[in-house]
């Protein structure tokens, strides 16, 4: 197992390298630059700024320098927020996004899982149909509709929650964003759980367990669930990577100072270092969670062995 993890981490290096290279050159090919503002800077100042950040160097040299800095864990300064380095920006925003994303994922796995099991145990009955209806709604209604509707209902009509803002991390400020983030996930998890649970309940070892007279609870939770969680584990990996690195829509609508907006704003302002930083962070999260999924797989399914 240990060897396997090491090997996986080593194969992640070329993947990361390809992604960094591709992103670096793609954003550089895009017309415009970080200092092309509408109120144009005077040419001297622009030249000075570009010299300071080494933007006048040939592209290959900039690329080599960037890679060198990256290997030292230095993401460089942000061009458009000149008082901050990219590392500082992430140190500020990432904990916020992770908190929201992690809570949403935990909520989705818990509620979605229970709903899926309930639906599977009542297959083709009222309970099943209501879970399916909920899941269809949750996966069809886009986030940018759910978020303002939550604001409208809970914030303005019932006045239960603040409409937006982070409020230094007060719990009440987190409820709206977490709810918005988790609803689509609950829908997907419930649907996956329902499908895999139905399949799991049909398998031979469950029939044996029932024949042995085990209680329903024991059959479902101890025996059927273990086989049924596998599809959810493999879904939850990429979903976690996406959730923890922030949602543009949710963070914009609820005015949350997370990292979700960094990418779009940086790409539009040609804030090269921040774009690259975001790409690297997202890639790292994706690689890490894919690895975690594979390890968890071995834990849940003893037939999977990594030697």
């Amino acid at each position: 197992m240990f060897v396997y993890v090491i090997r996986r981490l080593l194969t992640a290096i070329p993947t990361l390298f390809v992604i960094v290279t591709l992103a670096f050159f793609l954003i550089r090919i895009a017309p415009g630059g970080p200092f092309n503002q509408e109120r144009g800077l005077s040419p001297e100042i622009k030249a000075n700024l570009e010299a300071q950040f080494g933007l006048g160097d040939p592209l290959w040299l900039q690329y080599v320098n960037y890679l060198k800095n990256l290997l030292h864990g230095n993401f460089g300064p942000s061009y458009n927020l000149p008082d901050f380095t990219v590392t500082e920006l992430f140190a500020k925003g990432l904990p916020i996004s992770i908190q929201l994303g992690f809570s949403a994922l935990a909520l989705a796995l818990f509620i979605g899982g229970i709903l899926g099991i309930v639906a599977a145990l009542n297959q083709n009955k009222a309970g099943d149909y209501s879970v399916i209806a909920l899941a269809t709604a949750g996966s069809t209604i886009p986030t940018f509709v759910i978020a303002p509707v939550i604001q409208l209902l809970f914030g303005l009509t019932w006045k239960l929650l603040p409409i937006g803002g982070w409020g230094d991390g007060a719990l009440i400020n987190k409820i709206g964003p977490i709810l918005t983030l988790s609803l689509p996930q609950i829908a997907i998890v419930a649907r996956l759980m329902r499908g895999s649970m139905i399949e799991s309940l049909r398998s031979n070892h469950i029939r044996t367990a029932r024949a042995l007279g085990l209680s329903d609870w024991s059959v479902v939770v101890k025996h059927a669930l273990r086989g049924a969680v596998l599809p959810i584990v493999s879904y939850a990996g990429p979903a976690a990577a996406a959730l923890l690195t922030g949602s543009i829509i949710v963070e914009t609508i609820f005015a949350i100072p997370g990292v979700g907006r960094y990418f779009v704003d940086a790409a539009l302002n040609r804030d090269y270092t921040l774009v690259m930083g975001t790409v690297v962070v997202i890639a790292l999260f994706t690689i890490a969670f894919n690895l975690i999924v594979d390890i968890l797989y071995a834990f849940f399914d003893p037939r999977v062995r990594y030697d």
């Binding site: 390809v18 591709l22 992103a23 940018f144 509709v145 303002p148 409208l152 790409a267 997202i282």
Partner: protein, 372 residues
Amino acid sequence: MTDTAITAPVVGRSLWGDAWARLKANKAAMFSLFYLIAMSVVCIVGPYFVPHQYTTIYADYVRTPPSFSAYPKPEMIETAMNDAVRRMRVDVKEWRQEDERVFITVTSAKPLDARNIRYLDRSDTFDNAKLESTSADGLSAVMSATIKQQYFFFGTDNTGRDLLSRTLMAGRISLAIGLLAGIVAVVIGVVYGATAGFMGGKTDEVMMRIVDVLYSLPFIFFVIMLVVFFGRNFVLMFLAVGAVLWLDMARIVRGQALSIRRQEYVQAAEALGVRSRGIVQRHVIPNLLGPVVIYMTLLVPQVIILESFLSFLGLGVQEPMTSWGVLISAGAKNIGTANWLLLFPAFFLVSTLFALNFIGDGLRDALDPKDR
């Protein structure tokens, strides 16, 4: 001797006929199909029947709530009249309303200009202004004007544009983008996937590695880069969105092509000496069509969501042109004061997405019954 009943020869049903029969039995899918057709017709034809242009700004009707009764409401007449009279730089002495017309007596320190009544005509509330009489010294006059009856079933937006006509125009754009970008994605995906699947070997390997690499880049990175490259051009948006979504299609088609090639009926055809062109026409294309049609119906809502998402970020369709995403984005910013700006476009978008998803699910059940 008895007559034998003449029976028509038994006609077998084609697989497509079977699929259609299965689809017809699916109530949710059929209802969705009719709903979608109705929605398309309303969005295409509707704007011609709404008396307001989607770009016309009614300064007197900024953020008016939706209502089935005609505007102006009684209490709005006085405000609108005062606005118009203020522009004439005269004072209202008294005014009264008789049926559909208002009569306004105005006074001024300077002699009144008869052309002043044009300010009443220019207002969105009045029409057919007339100068009824002028006093002998020319310092006071009676004007009259018809009250223009207007209907805003969906209310108006922040600048006083009719939301009904905007929602319908937005529907045209969103549906058109969904369809066109969907077609672009399907064409690229099918050509790429089919090529990889049929060439096989090294070519397949290289082509699919490229797809893998593109997959590993954050999806939003791609979209933003395309927007950055192509600018905020409307037609290029179709292409950009379509160009991003072809990856899944390519994988599906390649897998399908590979599996069809190994099917026994294809081997049989090869053994019988059918040329590869014939095999492609007779066996491969009909078998590919099912998954492609299913994927396409599920792709269209994805494209509509993606377009709305981009518009939400301000990267999509630009004003005064509009799409459901643009309207919802404006609505989300005004939920405190004008929630209809969110609710109507959101209802149109969400109901269309539901319909498309039900049709997609229905088609999957109809065309691929083993997956039920």
